[in-house]
Assembly symmetry: C2
Homo-oligomer: 241 residues x 2
DNA sequence: TGGTATTTGTCCGTATGTATC
DNA sequence: GGATACATACGGACAAATACC
């Protein structure tokens, strides 16, 4: 893994921020002095700072400098359950157990109403499955997936029980560059109440994601239905202009 | 408003995407041909494309090109209620009415438990207010604000009823570059049930936001509690590596 | 008040690396 | 292997906002 220059600079700066090494001034050194420190061009420094900006560690102000934001120690970042590809991320980092049970598995054709809901073209063939995710032996997430058969060929229950993304990326050799997400709160369905540890909540947090492959086609529509307790989502917004 | 070059190129490309002018190949012209078309440097083209990338219109693939993603017509973008600074955005664009009523207004000092919750330092003085937001005459959002008195001086009920952000930006002349946000689902409190049009939901969608001013200090902690019906949040994620 | 230096923002041109076809 | 296309990096020029004297 050869690391790019701007990435290593980004990481060095981030470490300094977290360890509060810029606390006297509350500002980063100027771009020009960072150029000297890291022996690189100003553009490279600017890329590293742009990354810090987009993740909420700092904010740049024209004519003034780059200000370090408060509370970088608390770091709500990366705590986000359900980050990119499902929950595989949290199983790596923390000492939590995760398991998956496949509730249903079928192959079907998209009709008009399903096309409306999922965005797949009418007539497309998809795998449709319901999977229950256990975290520390508690059923906390119900995943409802639709995968385009043209892309995800020969899906089986065995694969669905492990990691579909692993199958797609390693066995099929496909790249998954990006996905759109929508976050909503919905009334719990009968199925939600039957399978999830909902306590007395009558709602679930829902993440609807559309995932794309290299040629621009959407190949996955997923509703990830979470019990409220374990549903937290972090983002950072920058004001335009 | 002098528009930057990369912004106008970004807008031109976005228009073409929405109007499906790249549909034959499903790809953008190569960066070099866009350089000729727009008479600019390759860096400028790359900035425009990076913007499209981050908003989920396209995805770049090394060695291949820039792929247009499906469903840009549906454009879930910008539908997001509670975008940057509260709900002023939706009141502009759509033909909906919005009103605010101030339920409570006080000045208080942050104690240990409030510091834990909000992130303000113990001993800070803040304005604490509850405001109910009506959309089309329905009480749909309960905003619970904490503003640092050192920054937002002389806040009044009259100002809170209009737009606090307008007051901060225009009257106080402060810039608000960025904010962190957390999205959660919580059990409805007694106050939620009393004031919001919750129907039979017993949960609310909560957006917790920390907003910063130029010097890096957090000056606002807000819980924006939404009825589930009007709570939708859109984001776009890109796979790292 | 005004002028100058500093600092970030935008833009340009070029070279090299790397993945795809 | 060669052509094409995106990715990274360098260096330089000027503008705009800010800070300082």
């Amino acid at each position: 893994m050869p690391k790019e220059k701007f990435t290593s600079i980004y990481e060095a700066l981030k470490d300094n921020i977290i360890q509060k090494k810029y606390q006297e001034t509350n500002m980063l050194p100027s771009e020009l002095s960072l150029v000297e420190e890291f022996h690189c061009s100003r553009n490279t420094i600017r890329r590293a700072i742009a990354q810090l900006n987009s993740e909420g560690y700092v904010q740049s102000i024209k004519g003034k400098g780059v200000v370090v934001l408060e509370m970088n120690n608390a770091a709500p970042f990366n705590l986000s359950i359900s980050n990119f590809s499902g929950l595989n991320i949290i199983t790596k980092n923390k000492d939590v157990s995760a398991a998956t049970s496949v509730l249903s598995f079928e192959r079907l054709m998209i009709d008009e109403t399903l096309s409306q809901k999922t965005g797949f073209k009418t007539g497309s063939e998809v795998y449709h499955l319901h999977r229950l995710r256990y975290i520390n032996n508690e059923p906390l997430i119900l995943d409802i997936n639709y995968f385009l058969c043209d892309v995800v060929k020969d899906l089986t229950v065995e694969i669905a029980q492990k990691s579909i993304y692993h199958y797609i990326q390693h066995d099929l050799g496909l790249k998954i560059p990006s996905s759109r997400r929508m976050i909503r709160v919905e009334k719990a369905t009968q199925e939600d109440m039957d399978v999830l540890a909902l306590k007395d909540y009558n709602c679930v947090g829902v993440i609807i994601s559309n995932t794309f492959i290299e040629d621009g086609r959407m190949f996955e529509y997923t509703e990830s239905r979470h019990t409220p307790d374990n549903f937290t989502f972090v983002e950072f917004a920058q004001n335009q202009k």
